[in-house]
Amino acid sequence: MADTTLQLEARRPADAVVAPGLSWGRFIGVATILGLLLLWALASALAWTSPVFLPSPARVWDALVRAATIGYANATLVEHMAASLWRVGAALGCTLAVGVPVGLLIATSRIGRGILDPLVEFIRPLPPLAYLPLIIIWCGIGEPSKVLVISIAMLAPIVISTVSGVRAAGESQIRAARSFGATRGQLLREVMLPAALPSIFTGLRIALGAGWTTLVAAELVAATRGLGYMIQSAAQFLVTDMVIAGILMISALATVSEFFLRWIERRFLPWIGKQ
């Protein structure tokens, strides 16, 4: 009996070293969010500003519930979210299909780099609102324009991360494949692309951030659905609670997609960070 007690006593300090570090960090995170909510509630309860500028958390919650049940601006919240998610997802697919091959070409071919690198560098710093009118003139006001605007914003991170990923492949890893008779295509498929995947994934996460950032711009013109459209409709009538509700929903979708990517990374790319 005495022995058992002693062992339990002895084990506790070891656990205690690890556990508080984790829960402490999480505690700070939760406390920060709660503190901000409290400050927000306080600011509106004490009427520091007009509700037009800052509606109370309760009103924003009401707006969310209203949008989810009755709907707002011609559609329910779920429909708005689905429309936005579809646009960002479709743009992501298009960008990957174009950006990864472009990155591979830049990284492996001198001619490819000569042609494509200046183009990517030209597109990279452009703000979406600047090329939006041009896209509308060229492609009309339909769905393709919206996807295209988001795709362009996502392109540079994907291309650049692919290029740097391919360059991260070890000299001897490449030489090994060549010494076993790899053709150019095999070298690309068996060594360069897998070696670049961790970097491409980092690029993907940055691109997704850029995609959500561009969503509102893309939904500026002739949209009838989407979170960006919902926010703009609400803004026109100074329905500030709905604006904030929309912002919170974009942030929620972005967070969920980020966690999804991290899960994929852990599940399918276990070698990341290992040598």
């Binding site: 090994a176 010494s179 076993f180």
Partner: protein, 257 residues
């Protein structure tokens, strides 16, 4: 009889600079085990890169069976100093890679890869990942992968350089056994005199600035080990000790110049 030969080969990285290798002539036949040893800067690794076809010589010729070498190929498999394995593949997939590149069907190449893993004593680790293994195990995988290409020549660039002394000794026996089974003409770059002496049918000493051959001598300690002699007895044989002193002198002679 396959022969990989370097004829009066010189190599300069910079056209106006000192040559890295000057007028090197060396023949590696099937069944040979040649160790190349020398101080840093003597061009050991450059010699291997020339033989592998990673670099073209600045002058002279690199030939396989009298045909000029134009690039790397599966007839000359390379084992790298930093194992050069692929962390995105399992151990058995790494070993099977040369067969995959050659278009061998999946079932057949995995079977061959498992057999090779058995032969380097890692049969049970096929499904593991590279980073879960020790340095010695990783080099054994590198050797198994090179042998999967069924090469005529095996080019090893200081494969044991990063291993501890005990693991090295164990690897020596394994390398000799695999060499004896495959008969691949083996070129080993090393900076251990004992390793070179114990393993090789021939030891070549390179002197630096410019890299050139200053000693080229045959030995039979590896063959004696394979025919059953005790490695400890071999290494304390007066002939072994005398040869070691000769090689050490050849390596360090140039330093006084």
């Amino acid at each position: 009889m396959s022969i990989l030969s370097l004829h009066n080969v010189s190599l300069r990285y910079d056209p106006d600079g000192e040559p890295v290798l000057e007028d090197v002539t060396l023949d590696l036949a099937r069944g040979d085990f040649i160790s190349v040893i020398g101080r840093s800067g003597s061009g050991k690794t450059s010699l291997l890169n020339l033989a592998a076809g990673f670099l073209p010589p600045s002058s002279g010729r690199v030939l396989i069976n009298s045909r000029p070498v134009t690039g790397p190929g599966p007839d000359r498999a390379v084992v790298f100093q930093d194992d050069a394995l692929y962390p995105w593949q399992t151990v058995v997939e790494n070993v099977a890679l040369p067969l995959k590149l050659a278009g061998v069907a999946p079932a057949e190449r995995l079977q061959t890869a498992r057999r090779l893993l058995d032969s380097v004593g890692l049969g049970e680790h096929g499904q593991r990942r590279i980073w879960q293994l020790s340095g010695g195990q990783r080099q054994r995988i590198g050797i198994a992968r090179a042998l999967a290409a069924r090469p005529e020549f095996l080019l090893m660039d200081e494969p044991l350089g990063a291993l501890d002394a005990m693991t090295r000794e164990m690897m020596h026996g394994l390398i000799l056994k695999l060499w004896n089974d495959s008969r691949a003409g083996t070129l080993l770059i090393t900076h251990s005199v004992e390793e070179a002496l114990f393993l090789s049918t021939r030891v070549v000493v390179l002197a630096p600035f410019p890299g050139r051959i200053v000693l080229n001598e045959p030995f039979d300690f590896g063959r004696r080990f394979l025919s059953g002699e005790n490695p400890r007895v071999l290494k304390s044989d007066p002939a072994f000790i005398a040869a070691r002193e000769r090689l050490v002198t050849a390596i360090h002679d140039e330093e006084t110049v």
